[in-house]
Structure formats: C-alpha cells, structure tokens
C-alpha cells in the first residue's frame, strides 16, 4: 500500500466549502424569514380586523428583500489563500 501524503490543506478546503455553504443557507433563511414577516405585516395592514389600528399607528407596507445583482455573485475568498 502506498503512503500518500496526508494533505491537511484538502481538509481545510472541504471545511471552507462547508462554512461557505452554511453561511449561504443562513443568509437565505434570514431573507426568507424577513420576507415572510413582511408578507404577514402587509396582510395585517390591509385586513379588515386590523386596518383601523394599522392606520392609527401609521403602519406602512414594507418591501420584500431582494438581493442586488452584485450581491448574488459568489463570495471571493481568494484572499484566504494569499
């Protein structure tokens, strides 16, 4: 059996990929949670049971979050390898 080098950098690379994936999922879930709350708020503002209270408290409809083109690009992690 050949003795291959135990490349620690490979493990680090996998770890980095996982971290990036988790971060992406976390950001995505935060956006979904925010947008879900926006939809609930906007529904409450126009629903009959709460419309008067919402007008009295001057609640305004919120806007769902949408990532800009530049924010959708893959993260640049090249600086980690310098």
């Amino acid at each position: 059996m050949k003795n291959y080098l135990d490349l620690k950098s490979f493990e680090n690379m996998i770890q980095l990929q996982r971290t990036l994936r988790v971060m992406e999922e976390q950001i995505n879930s935060a956006i979904r949670a925010y947008n879900s709350n926006v939809l609930v708020l906007n529904d409450k503002i126009v629903s009959i049971s709460t419309i008067v209270l919402a007008a009295y408290l001057e609640y305004q409809p919120a806007i769902c979050f949408e990532a800009r083109e530049s924010e959708n690009s893959d993260p640049n992690v090249s600086f980690l390898f310098r």
């Binding site: 770890q15 996982r18 994936r21 988790v22 999922e25 976390q26 995505n28 879930s29 935060a30 979904r32 949670a33 947008n35 879900s36 709350n37 939809l39 609930v40």
Partner: protein, 353 residues
Amino acid sequence: MEHQLFQLLETTATQLEKKRIRLKRFYGLYNLTILPLNFLLQIATVVVVVGGIFFPPFWLWLILLFVVYIGLSFVPHPKESYHDYVKEDVLPQIFKEVHPNYEYHPFGINNEALSNSGFFNKSFFRNNVFIHGEDRVTGIVDNVTVDFTEVAFYRKDINWLKSFGGFILAILLFPIAILHGLFNQEDGVQPIVEFGFVRDTIKYYRGLFLYANFNKSFEGDVILIPKKLESNWDKFSDAVFGSSYSKMEIDNHTVSSNYSVYTTNAQMAYYVLSPSLINSIVQIIETEKVHPMISFRSGKMYMTIPWDRDYFSVDINEPVNGAAYFTNYIEDIKSFEKIIKHLKLDVKIWSKS
C-alpha cells in the same frame, strides 16, 4: 440479483416452503379443533357461572375449565408460528446479505425517540392503552444514523353495540339477581349484575415512524402537523401550545395549506426547512397521498408517515416460489434508503469534525 444473494434466497425459499406446508396442515387442524374448543369453553364458562348462582358448588367446575383454558393457550397458533419464523429466522439473514449496515428487530420500538419527537404530550404515554412496534430497522445509511419502525397506536373506545347488548343481558339477568338476593341474604351484598360500557381496544393510528440524524446542525424545534390531524389529535404536544412556540408561514402553497408549522425560532426554522427539503416533503405528500407528521429537534429529524403499508408481510396461504418470493422484502429493505436519499439527509453540509 447477485449470485450469493440468489443462492441464499433459493435455499431459504426451499426451507420456508417446507415449513409453510407443515404449518398450513396444522393450521387446518387448529381451526377444526382448538378454535371450536375455545368457543365451547366460553359457553361452558357462562353456563357454570349462571348455574353456580343457584348451586354454588357448581363453580368448582371453573377450576377444570381454567386448567383446560391454560392448556389450550399453550398450543401455538400456526399462523403466528409461521409469522414469527419468517421475522425471527428468515428476515435477519436477508438483511445481512442485502444491507449489512442494517440491524433488524422483528418487534419493539424506540420509546425514547417517540417521546422526543414532540408529537405527543406528556400524558399520551400514560393514557394510551399500548403502542405496538414491529419491523424495527436500525443502522447507518451513507453515514446517517437511522431508525425505522412500523408503529400502531391502540386505545380503548366504547363499543355501543356491545354495550347495548350487555345492557339487554343485564336487564334479562336482573330477575335472577333479585332471586339470588332473596335466597342468599346472609351472604351480604354481592352484585352479580353490573351496568357499564363495554370498551374495545381499537387501532387508531398506523404508520412508519422514522428517526434520523439531520444533515444540518441546529438548536431548537420545528414541528409540522397536518391541519386535518391537528383538529382531532387530542394527544398533540402540550409544548406546542406553550409560550415558547410560535406559528409560522411556509413559502410553499402545498405545505402552508396542509400544515400548521410551529417553531421556537423562525429564522432557524427557515434554515432547517430549506426549499429543497420542502420540495421533497411535497413530493411525498403528492405521490404517496399521505400527510406525514414531521419534527426537527436539536439536530434530529422525526417523521411518522400514516399508511397501511405492511412491511415484510407474511401470509401462510401464499406459496413460496423460489427466490422471487422475497422480491417484496428486498424492495422494502431498499425503500428505507430511498426515503433517506429522497430527503437528502445523506448530503451533509455541516460537520462537527
């Protein structure tokens, strides 16, 4: 089919068919002798009990009847013997060959996982008559620890027809009770007629209970309860209605219209319920036409799929025609892996290491 597996199945099929033919003969004999004897025993018991009211020494016959009853109960039911043979001797061998990572237990249930699932309240396990678990499969699928069990929940419900029959019988026996009271006044009060409801044990839920390590690390709870079940699921977790849980909306029409989703942390719940996982759940709902209960608690996933599918079914009347007989069993074994892969639980994006 691999050659080694084929050989094993062929040999097992031959042995099983021999066993089946022998037990089937005995099954016919059992139906002709033991069943009528049991019936006669019940009639004799009623006759002796009623006769004993007028002539108490007659009740001594009950001892003999009891001895016969005990003797008959030791005669094994051929159908059950065949069932147990398949589950205890045949299936473990097939499991070992088809999926060595699995461990098969013919009976039993993971009570700890069931109570940790959050589907039931604290009183559920006290009030329930009993929970039956069968065909429990534990093991590892692509580094995911899994535990599947076929579960059935039973409880006692009033049988109105029998209760009414019992009521009529009690009224008919009432004059006897009065006569008994007149002639046995020195015995004190011994009611021989009692009024009450007759209760039957009924199966009210059947399905597959799945417990697996989830592919993401998270702290907190997310519970998806089908809306149609929530209204009559009186045993549903108390905790859900506590202050720590809040109801949330899911951005999927099928799930939001069919499920109530409760969580301890909305953002974490969205992290757990990724769009791909929701799509997998929707596929189960649409293809299987079932609404599973699902919960995610502290890095674990629990699911009960309510279906009448009988895993590893055994029928003494079905001839064992070679290796092909076991095709359904092998498909059942592979179906567990399919569920895990379908939910993509084997795709880990997070690792503790």
